[in-house]
Amino acid sequence: MRRHLPVAAAVALVLALPPLLSSSHLAVFTLLGLAATVTVGLSLLMGYAGQVSLGQASFYAIGAYTAGLLSVHGAPTLAGLAAAPVVAALSATVVGVSLLRLRGHHLAFATLATQLILLSLLARGEWAGGAIGLQGIPRLSIGGYELAGDLGYAYLAWAALGLAVLVTANVMASRPGRGLRALATSEVAAAASGVPVGRYRLAVFALSAAFAGLAGGVYAFYLGYLAPGSFPILLSIEYVVMAVVGGMGTVWGAVAGATAIMLLVQLLTTIGTQPGMPSYAPSVLSYAVYAVVLVLVVLFLPRGIVPAARDARIRLRR
């Protein structure tokens, strides 16, 4: 029971917080839930499959466009939301079959290239609204009840995060999860012990894409408008920063990393938009924050804040 106490407290906090927030803070809270959902998947991929993806935002985009396109063309919105993670996972499987032969920097560049190709295709595709974007996405309706208020989307985003955390925790505790942990240490050793390396890597890739797709689906209904410009390469890098800062391969690290970066950038944006500050200040400050935090953490806290804090606590107890 004691183990579940922090989780219960976190859930209670998430349920109690949204009605107390102002509308701009509620937007940050919603986007944080979505970013953390993507980061949980990426952290899984980086921590267990040991691979850096610089194109995670492409699966976020695929999920968003799937949900958006389906509902614009008259499909029930709930079906659009359900299809988002499925289509994202399927695309990851198709792309992953060949790309996951690559390792390290090769895979990093390959995922970057995949996202550039996707963005270019979306910007040119008439069916996707081209560079202007996809407009008029209806609000999500669940069983005849239309989810119109921002409060509902805040809960929806955090429900998506809850689902991602739950799935990840269960996968990691299972027998395949142990195989994955072996895979993270050495592929050759894992393969020698009978772990189907290729299939597992592909499965993790697809799962991480499904989380990103789900978050993208929620995003589509929340914003009601999608454009290729909403999914830049920098967004993919942002997820990497969040995963690295929190600590790769830990669920709570991903959530903590996303929260830390999001709040920090938000704080600096507030400072940057003060009267008297130049118009470019918010973007300059956020680029600088991503960069400085990423570099400092990689050099001085290579395992991320959550594992480092855990180590510190163990040392203090002695």
Binding site: L102, G104, H105, L112, L116, I117, Y287, A291, V298, L299
Partner: protein, 288 residues
């Protein structure tokens, strides 16, 4: 026929730019096994600095030289941060250079704003065997070829170049014979910065540069360099030229909209084929 020659020469000009970006990646990777994601930023910084220097009245030539020297200095700083701390693995260094590339965005937007920048290069066009080619493309080719020749001679003939190559082939053995591997690594970052800067000042007159142009630059540079496994300058040059010519020919004979997709697809195909030929155990033994 003359149209084909036109496409070939223009494409070679564009490809030479890719090859120069790629050569910087190769020099750094050869010595340190770090893939430098900040390579595109060197080009952007040099290009933007040149536009400022030219606007303030410095003549052509001098402005470009100062910018390339500045890019070399930036490369050195990136190197100090990326590999200066003992025990930084190449994978960690890769993420550090990625972070520094983003940091460059902040600096660039702060100094030069977020609008595209350009400056004039060589004006007019030259007739080559009946084909009209913008003269600036010939300048890019004319600078790139000697640079690659010098690079090859430097690595093969000079003591310093040999020491650099020694670090590349076996770090431990290099250290044993008294080569300061870290200092060589920093030198390679400085050289990589200069090569990136050179690419930037050469390409900008025919292709505007914004603060986030580094992504396309580095992806094309990586595509050029990946053919030679990121270690062979001569193959990088061939890869860059091939890529540039392929893009121009495709754009010239229709399909202009899809040149980026085709170039990136080609890179992905090359990497997948290369990876399929290398056993997993060998890939794991390679850092990064």
């Amino acid at each position: 026929m003359s149209q084909l020659l036109e496409y070939l020469l223009t494409g070679a000009g564009i490809g030479a730019g890719f090859a120069l970006v790629g050569s910087g990646l190769v020099v750094i990777y050869r010595v340190t096994r770090v893939v430098n994601f900040a390579q595109g930023a060197f080009a952007v910084i040099a290009a933007m600095l040149t536009s400022t220097l030219l606007a303030s009245g410095l003549p052509h030539g001098a402005a470009e030289l100062v910018a390339v020297a500045a890019a070399a200095a930036v490369g050195l700083v990136v190197g100090v941060i990326a590999i200066g701390k003992p025990g930084t693995s190449p994978r960690a260094a890769l993420i550090v250079t990625l972070g520094l590339g983003v940091f460059a965005y902040a600096v660039e937007v702060l100094i030069w704003g977020d609008q595209p920048r350009s400056f004039p290069g060589l004006a007019g066009s030259t007739h080559v065997a009946g084909a009209r080619v913008p003269t600036h493309y010939l300048l890019v080719i004319g600078v790139t070829l000697p640079v690659f020749a010098l690079l090859a001679a430097f690595f093969a003939r000079t003591d310093l170049g040999k020491a650099l190559s020694a670090c590349a082939s076996n770090r431990y053995a290099a250290r044993v014979v008294g080569i300061d591997v870290t200092r060589m690594g920093l030198l390679s970052f400085g050289l990589g910065g200069a090569l990136g800067g050179l690419a930037g000042v050469l390409v900008t007159p025919v292709q505007q540069v914004t603060f986030d142009s580094d992504v396309t630059l580095i992806v094309n540079g990586f595509a050029a360099a990946v053919l030679g496994g990121l270690t062979r300058p001569a193959v990088t040059l061939a890869g860059g030229l091939l890529l540039g010519v392929a893009q121009t020919v495709i754009a010239g004979y229709g399909g202009g909209a899809y040149q980026l997709e085709l170039a990136l697809g080609l890179m992905l195909a090359v990497m997948v084929v290369q990876a399929a030929r290398t056993p997993t155990s060998q890939q794991e033994a390679m850092p990064g």
